[in-house]
Symmetry: C2
Subunit: 375 residues, 2 copies
């Protein structure tokens, strides 16, 4: 792998988060934190660590101006915890103003390309995925959900972009890749810029919450927004970056492609419990050493789960952290404790999702109608 570039299709190699500021120009979030009246868990805990032009979105919020929040999911399986990270940010930024609007993309073309899923299969998964984000708190009143395979505007934009983007520009951002990946990057740029088309109210700030390794897509899209400003009036999209949830398998991130790296929100609680208990940790080789030296929560995917998702009280998260480094908390019991929370969470999430399946279908139908009418 090319260590000089971030690979949005890769295993989540980042190097260090520091490097993202110094080498790639992602701005630090710290200076903006005072602007949040009630910072989200991700922001307060510095899980969200960087941004590009987030100030523009905060200005819109402060001045009661419209803005969009754009995200999506590849319906190649169920919602896993990595996807939840992005969804949590999206939902938080939707909640900050009545002028927000979420654009959520069901990336079924990519699911076909990468996973061989038919559009019909994707369609079924999509309903469950939408129910998942509703269960996480999305307000359906200010959201549009669309399928990539049905949104001619996205395709049109990506084709338009392909005419001006040079191979060198793509190679500089992504390295030498298959044309299919280049095209999928251009389609994502279309997804991100669509909310600024005239039929959706024209140019406006758009926020894209992403994992740190997805920055290449943001850079490409910002370049394209500038290149097509005179044609479309595009404002370069803003982004906010969250740290990657380490894989439970010990890899750098959770991935649908890596079994055992995560569990999904749809998984049977017993199975998620098993994955949790089997997880890699930041523990020492022996109990004796761990008592003596303490564990390493900062390298531990189990601690990530506490911090990013399941220890909602700051005090609780801090206690887990301190007990780990203090050599008081052993990995076995720590995982058992988490597994219990996970089980309860998944049971509750499933209940909520099941009760929202009809709402998900309605949101999809309503969105389709609204998109067809917006010409």
């Amino acid at each position: 792998m090319d260590k000089d570039r971030l690979d949005p299709w890769g295993e989540g190699f980042i190097g260090s988060y520091e490097r993202l500021h110094n080498e790639f120009g992602i701005e630090r979030l710290d200076a903006l934190i005072p602007r949040f009246k009630r910072p989200s868990l991700h922001i307060a805990r510095k899980i969200d660590f960087g941004h590009r032009d987030l100030g523009r979105v905060l200005d819109a919020i402060d001045n009661d101006k419209p803005y969009a929040v754009m995200s999506g999911i590849k319906p190649s399986g169920d919602f896993h915890l990595g996807t939840k990270m992005t969804a949590d940010d999206m939902i938080y930024f939707q909640s900050l103003s009545k002028r927000s609007k979420v654009y959520y993309c069901i990336a079924d073309v990519e699911a076909y390309n990468d996973n061989g899923l038919s559009f019909a299969e994707s369609s079924k998964t999509a309903v469950r995925n939408v129910a998942d984000i509703l269960a996480l708190g999305l307000d359906p009143e200010r959201a549009v959900v669309y399928k990539q395979s049905e949104e001619i505007r996205v395709m049109r934009l990506s084709t338009i972009f392909s005419s001006s983007v040079t191979n060198n520009m793509l190679k500089a951002i992504y390295g030498e890749r298959r044309i299919g990946l280049y095209l999928s990057a251009l389609i994502q740029a279309g997804d991100i810029l669509m909310p600024q088309l005239p039929e959706f109210g024209g140019p406006k700030p758009v926020l894209v919450p992403v994992g740190a390794d997805q920055d290449p897509h943001i850079r490409l899209t910002r370049d394209l927004a500038n290149a097509y400003r005179s044609d479309f009036g595009f404002i370069p999209p803003s982004s906010i970056y969250h740290r990657l949830n380490r894989g439970l398998d010990g890899g750098p991130k959770m991935s649908k492609r890596v079994p055992g790296s995560s569990f999904t929100l749809d998984e049977a609680p017993a199975s998620a419990v098993k994955t949790t208990l089997a997880s890699f940790t930041g523990g020492r080789p022996t109990v004796e050493e761990q008592r003596r030296l303490g564990g390493e929560a900062d390298k531990c995917p189990i601690y990530d789960l506490y911090l990013f998702h399941f220890a909602l009280e700051d005090e609780y998260a801090k206690r887990v952290y301190d007990e780990c480094y203090g050599g008081i908390r052993m990995c076995g019991e720590c995982k058992q404790e988490l597994a219990k929370i996970v089980k309860g969470y998944l049971e509750e999430h499933r209940r909520r999702r099941e009760s929202l399946m009809k709402d998900a279908e309605e949101l999809l139908a309503k969105s389709r109608k609204a998109l067809a009418a917006a010409r």
Copy 2:
């Protein structure tokens, strides 16, 4: 330029037509000519010289089975004589059976990309372009006209294809090109394969009449049809190749991009007359030499015009040819003679087109409705 490859976006360099059979495997048309009850002017005069799998289409005609004829136009200007070549073949093959159906693509995405034309501008040109093909004889009852920018199926197919096509495959066919050109090739493959989707009756023979330099697109599309046979049941499309109408400027082909290389069917007759009279010819440097050695009709774009378009009687075309080589016919008078025919033709064509503008709009509206219903 890379002389080992054909360049569908280039100036029409072919080398020799012989080479297309030997190096690129385009089959000779000769063996199939007896199968035509009333061969078209292009076929009878060997202007159509080659094909791939045309037998499959002729079988469909003989057995009263459905087949499609696919072509299109980039609405970046008016119909010129090079476009007419393809349209003539398309209309001829439509006329051979009641089971035929024409799919005609208005390539407005390419017009935007290559020429900066807005979709609204393209839309206006499109109506006139469609009136042109109606005036040339298209039967609107068995034709569907669509805009590339509105046909999600084409976009979907091209995206799907992009996932499996390798950079090496594209480089082998097209050489190292901009990603935008690769994508436009994949979109054309989508255009050509769309008529075989289930909503259009499923797999069937599809004929694509093209100029000789467009074979790379055919090869790519045939490769993709084979690659996706198990998913879609695609039958590799058939093709028929016509010789390129030499440019009146002395270049290898007529092109919208080369002023003076052609005139359009929409041009004021006086202007087309001027272009004709200014044309490069296969004549000798002096009248004396031409009387002594004869002209060279085989190298003359003016003779191409007689042969390909305007000398409808074989006897007349033969007389022009013989008088040229016999040193009897001088270029000046030959051009004057042609200019008179051109003038009459354009006046008549314009009358017919104007009377068909409403029909063109109706065909576009009817097609849009049919395409929206075909889901």
